[in-house]
Symmetry: D2
Subunit: 352 residues, 4 copies
C-alpha cells in the first residue's frame, strides 16, 4: 500500500475488476451476456459477505450474558439487522437486472457452465445457518451437500453447530426479568376477585388473566386457536420442531402487547426486524423462482436440480422466524389488555 | 363545472376527499390506523380502475381482425401493457405502507369490519377475468361467489364470457402468416438433403427441422421434454386445460427465436409484457400473503376465509400466461438455430 | 349504510370510482391518457390526505407539554413519521407511472386543462406548512397565492399560523432536562484540571469541553467551521432565518452524540425521521422537475408558470429540516467524545 | 481452472471475497462500518464495469455505417441501453444501504481515508465520457484531473477523444433517409395550395409546413419558442456548445412525431432510453448529494473538495442528452400533425 491513501488501492480495484473471465470467451464462442451473469453473481456474493459480517457481529453481541436493556448494544443489534433488511431489499431489486437477460441470451453460454450452480453459494447457506436454519429443516439435504466441496460443507456445518440468531433470541427472551419479579405483580388487577381463586396456580397471574381474555376475544370459528394457545405458551413440548420455548414465546408476546413502554421499545423493534428479514428472504426466494421459471422453463438447472421445484419446496420450508410471526395469532385488542400496576409501569420506564 | 378549469373541480376532489368514514369513529372507538386502511384500499381500487381501463382498451384493439404488423396499434398495445406492469410495481410497493400498520393497530378496528373483506373487490376479479382467468380455473369458486352481490357477480361473469386477452393473443398468434406463405420456405436449408426425405410430411418443413435440433440440444436428463414438445406444438389436444393452441404456440416460439427481425420485435415485446404482468401479479399475491400472515397469523380473515391458505392456493393456480412462460423450455441455442432463406428474411424486414 | 358491512359501501367506492371525467371526453376529442392523468392525481391527493392526517396527529402529540421520555407517545410520533416516509417513497415511485405518458400523449389534452394546474394542490401546500415551511420562506409567494381560491388560501394560512412540526420539535428539544440538572455534571471529567479554570463561565461545562474538542478535530481547511459553531450553539442570534434556537441545537447534537443511551434512542430516531422526510420530499420534487422537463420541455405550464424554473427554485428553498441536517458538521469522532459521569449514565438509562 | 466447472472458481470468489481490508483494522482502531463502506464501493465499481461493457458494445454497433433499420442490431442497442437504465436504478436504490451508515459511524474511520475519494473513480468518469460528456463541459476540470493518476487520466482522455454515444446518435440521426427521397414527398399535402408558394424554398416541404403549424400551436406567452425553433432546426449554428446538428434534431423530432410507424418504433425507443439514462444518472447524482450532505454536513470531503457544492454544480452541468429532452418543446398535438403521403406510409412500414 502506498503511503498516500488512494481510492483504487484502498478498494483493491485491481483485484475486483480483474476477476471476470467469461467461459464463452475461453471457449471462443463469445456470448455477450455472460459478463452480466458473472458480475451480478459477484455483487451478490459481496453483499452476502456483508450480510454475514453483520449477522456475525449481531450474534456475538447477543451471546453476551450481560446484554440487558440498559445496554447501548441492543440498539446496535436492531440497527444492524435493519441494515440487513435494507441490503436484502436491494438484492431483491437486483433480480430486475438479471431479468434483462432473455432465455435465448442465457442459452448462448448456459451449457458451458455445467455443473456449476448457484446452489454452490456456500455464503448464502452459511447465512441461513447463522440466522437459524438447521440442517434437518433444510429441504433436499443430501442434494445440497452433494453440490459442495468438503471445505465449504465444513464451514456451513460449523455455522449450523454454533448458536444461531434464532437460538440467541430465544435465550434473550427467556432472560426477560419482569415476570419473575414479585413486586411487579402484587398490585396486578383482575377483572373480579373471584377470578383470582379460579386460576391455575401453576401459571403466572398475568398469563392466567391473559388466557381468559384471549379466549373471550376469539370468534366462534377460531375456537381451535385456544388449544394452540396452551401448546405455545404453557406446555414445554418436547416437540423438536419448535425453536422457541414457551417462556420465550410469553416474553415475545408481552413485548408485542406492551411495546409502548420505554423498556420494550427496542425489543419490539428487534422482533420486527426478524420478521422483516424473513419477509425479504422469502421475497428474494420467490422472485428467484419466477426468474428461473421464465429463464429455463421446465429444463434442468446447470447444477442438475429440477430447478423450480427445488426452489419452491425450499421457499415453503425455509421461513426462519415463523414462530415469531405466528404469535400475532394470539394478540388481543388494546381495550381488552390487562392494565399493569404502577410498580410495573415504573419498572418499564426510564430512571427519570 | 365552472367555465374556468380548476384543479379541485377537475379532479372531483370534493368527492374523493370526502369518502373516508372510519367505522371506529362511527362506533365511537376511534382507531387511528383505520384511516390508512381506508385510503390505501381506495388507492388500490383507483389503480384497479386504471388497469381495467388499459386492459379493456388493449382487448378492444386485439379484437380487430385487421390488426396486423403494419398497424401502429400493436405498439399501442405493448405500451399500455407495459404501463400496466409499471402500475402493478407500484401496487406491490404500496404493501410497504400497509405493513406500517402493526397487528395490534389492526386489531383496534378489525372486528368492526366483519364481514367486509378484500375478497369483495370485484374490480380485481374482473381484471383477472379480462386477462384470461376463467371461472373453472379459479381456486375456491363457490367461496368467491358467496362473498359478492349478484350485481358484481354479473359484471365478472360478463368479463369471463367475453374474449380475454389470453384468448385474443391466442388468435393473433394463430393469424401469423409466415408459415402459410410457400415462398418463404422454398429455399429453406436443411442440414442435409437426406433429412428432407425423412421428415414427417404432415409437419411444416421448419418444425420438422426444429424438432430434430431441439432433440439434439437436450441433456440426457431432459429427454422427457421431447415428448412434451409434440404435446405442445403438434397435437391439437382436446385438453380443455390448455389455453393456447399448438399453432399459437408455434407462432410464439418462432417469435422468441427470431425476435431480432424487424417484424418480430414488437410481437416479442408483447409476449414479454404478458410475462411481466404475470410476474408482478404473482409478486403482489405473494407479498399480500406474507402481509396477511404477519398481520393476522392463523386467525380467520374478516370475510371468514382461512386467510393465508386461501391466498396461497390462489397464488399457485392463478398464473394466467404460464403457457407462454413455459415455451422457454423449448428454445435452443442461437448457433443451432435453422437459418432462414433470403425470401423469408426480406419478409421479416422493412419495406426499405 | 346497510346493517351488514360491505367492502364497497365501506370504502365508498361508488363515489371514488365515479369521479373520473376526462375533459377530452367532454369536448368530444377523446384522449386515452387523460384517464391516467386524472387517476394518478387523485391517488396523490388521497395520499396527501393521509399524510396530513398523520402529521396533524403528530403535531397534536408534540403540543402536549407533558410529552416526556417515559411517554409511549414519543414512540407513536416516530412510528407515524416513519409511515410518512414510507408513503413518500411510494409517491416518488408513482412518478414512474406518470412517465409512461409520453409528451405527445399529454399534448392530446394538455391545452384543455388550462388554467388548472398542480400548483392548486392546497393539500400539498398545507402539508409543507404543517411540517414547517413558512410563507416568507416560500419561493414565488405571490404566484402561489394567485393560483388559489380564497377558501384554500385561508386553509394554508391557518396551517402556517399554527405551530409547525419544526417549531414543536424546537420546543421539545429546548425542554431537554439533562443540562439543567446539576447532579449530572458534578463528576463530569475534563481532560485536565487546568481546563476547568480557563473555561467560559457563561457556558455549560459540557459545551466548553465539547467546543474545545471539536476545534481539535477540524482539519486545517475546516477552521471556519469553528466560528459557525458559536453561531449555532451559543449565540441566540436574532437571525429570523433560523428556526432552531441554540438551546435546541445543543440538545439535538447531544442526542446525536450519545444516541446509544436508552433515553436518547427514540429522540435520535425522531431526528432521523425528520431528515428522511426532507430527503423524500426533495427527491419527489427533483423527480417531478425532471418529469416536467421531459414532458413539456421549455413550454409554459398549464397554470402559466415557467414550469421547470419555478420548481427548481422551490427545490433549493424548501428544505424544511435543513438546520437539523447541518448539525452533522459539528460531530466529532466517538473516541474524542467526552465521557459522561456515572450519575449522568444512570439518568439516561432505564429504571431497572 | 479445474476441469470441472465450479461456482467458486468460475466467479473467482477467492479474489473477490479477499479484497476487503479496512484501514481501521490496519490502524488497530476497528470501525465496524468500514466494511460496508468498502463493499458498497466495490459493488458500485463492479456495476460501473458492467455499464462500461454495455456502453462500449453499444458504441461499437452504432459506429457501423451499415447500421440501418433492417438490422437486428438496433434492437440490441435498445435492449442494452435499457439494461443500463435497470442497473442505474439499482445503483440509485443502493444509496439506501449507504444511508444506514450514520454520520457518527462514518467519523470513526473517515479521517483514515484521506486523501482517497470517490472522485478517483475513473470508471464513472470514463462512463460519462463514453456517453458524451466532454472535458470542456465538465464542472471543475482542473480539480478532477488533480485527483487522478496519469494512467487513469489517459484512459478518460482516450474515452473523451473517441466517438461518444451522443456523437454516434447524432450521426445516425443525420443518416435518416426519408427526407432526401423525393418520392416520399411528391404527394405530401399542404393545408392549401397557396401555402405551397409562400414557403421558404431552401427548406424541406415538410419542415416548412411543420414550422407553420408549430407557430399556430403556441400560446401567446410562448411566442419566443418560435425563434428557438429556427435556432434548433434550421440554422447550423457554429455554436460549439450544441452537440446535435439541426439535421439530427429534425430527424429526432420526426421520430417522436410519427413513432407509430413500424420503422420508427425502435428509433423512438432508442431516444427514450437515452432520456431514461440521463434521468437515472441525475437522480443518482441528486441522491448522492443529499447523502453527502446528511453525512458530512458542511465539512470538507476526504478528497479535499467542498463536497456538496462540487456535486451540486456537476449535477446541473452533466446532463448528457439534454438537447434530445428539449425537443419536446417543439411537438404539436396529434390532430395538428401533417398527414403523410401513401408512398411515405409504405416507406415506413414492413415489406409485408
Amino acid at each position: 500500500m502506498p503511503n498516500e491513501m488512494n481510492y483504487i488501492d484502498y478498494l483493491r480495484l485491481n483485484k475486483i475488476l480483474d476477476a471476470q473471465f467469461p467461459e464463452s470467451d475461453n471457449q471462443n464462442k463469445p456470448a455477450h451476456d455472460e459478463m452480466l451473469f458473472i458480475i451480478i453473481h459477484q455483487t451478490y456474493e459481496l453483499w452476502f459477505k456483508q450480510l454475514l459480517y453483520e449477522v456475525e457481529s449481531v450474534n456475538q453481541i447477543m451471546q453476551k450474558p450481560s446484554l440487558n436493556d440498559n445496554s447501548p448494544e441492543l440498539q446496535t443489534v436492531v440497527h444492524r439487522l435493519s441494515r440487513c433488511t435494507t441490503i436484502l431489499k436491494v438484492l431483491v431489486h437486483q433480480i430486475d437486472i438479471m431479468e434483462t437477460m432473455t432465455p435465448m441470451d442465457f442459452l448462448d453460454f448456459r451449457n458451458m457452465l455445467r455443473p456449476a450452480s448457484g446452489f454452490q453459494s456456500w455464503q448464502f447457506k452459511k447465512l441461513e445457518a447463522l440466522f437459524g436454519l438447521k440442517y434437518n429443516h433444510r429441504y433436499g439435504q443430501e442434494y445440497y451437500i452433494s453440490q459442495l466441496k468438503q471445505e465449504q460443507i465444513d464451514i456451513i456445518k460449523k455455522a449450523e453447530s454454533g448458536q444461531s440468531l434464532l437460538e440467541l433470541v430465544n435465550r434473550w427472551l427467556e432472560r426477560m426479568p419482569f415476570f419473575k419479579e414479585a413486586d411487579n405483580w402484587k398490585n396486578f388487577t383482575f377483572l373480579n376477585n373471584q377470578e383470582k381463586e379460579n386460576q391455575d396456580e401453576k401459571q403466572h397471574v398475568f398469563w392466567n388473566e391473559y388466557r381468559r381474555r384471549y379466549s373471550e376475544s376469539l370468534a366462534s370459528e377460531e375456537k381451535t386457536n385456544y388449544d394452540l394457545f396452551d401448546e405455545v405458551f404453557t406446555k414445554n413440548s418436547s416437540d423438536n420442531e419448535r425453536s422457541l420455548s414457551s417462556a420465550a414465546c410469553r416474553a415475545a408476546l408481552f413485548i408485542m402487547l406492551y411495546r409502548g413502554y420505554p423498556v420494550l421499545q427496542l425489543p419490539f423493534q428487534l422482533l420486527t426486524q426478524l420478521l422483516e428479514i424473513d419477509e425479504q428472504l422469502s421475497t428474494w426466494r420467490y422472485r428467484h423462482i419466477n426468474m428461473v421459471h421464465r429463464t429455463i422453463g421446465k429444463r434442468i438447472g446447470t447444477g442438475g436440480s429440477s430447478g423450480r421445484d427445488y426452489l419452491k419446496a425450499a421457499l415453503d420450508k425455509h421461513y426462519i422466524f415463523k414462530e415469531i410471526a405466528e404469535l400475532t395469532s394470539f394478540l388481543i385488542e388494546r381495550n381488552r389488555l390487562p392494565g399493569l400496576s404502577k410498580e410495573m409501569e415504573r419498572r418499564l420506564g426510564f430512571a427519570g
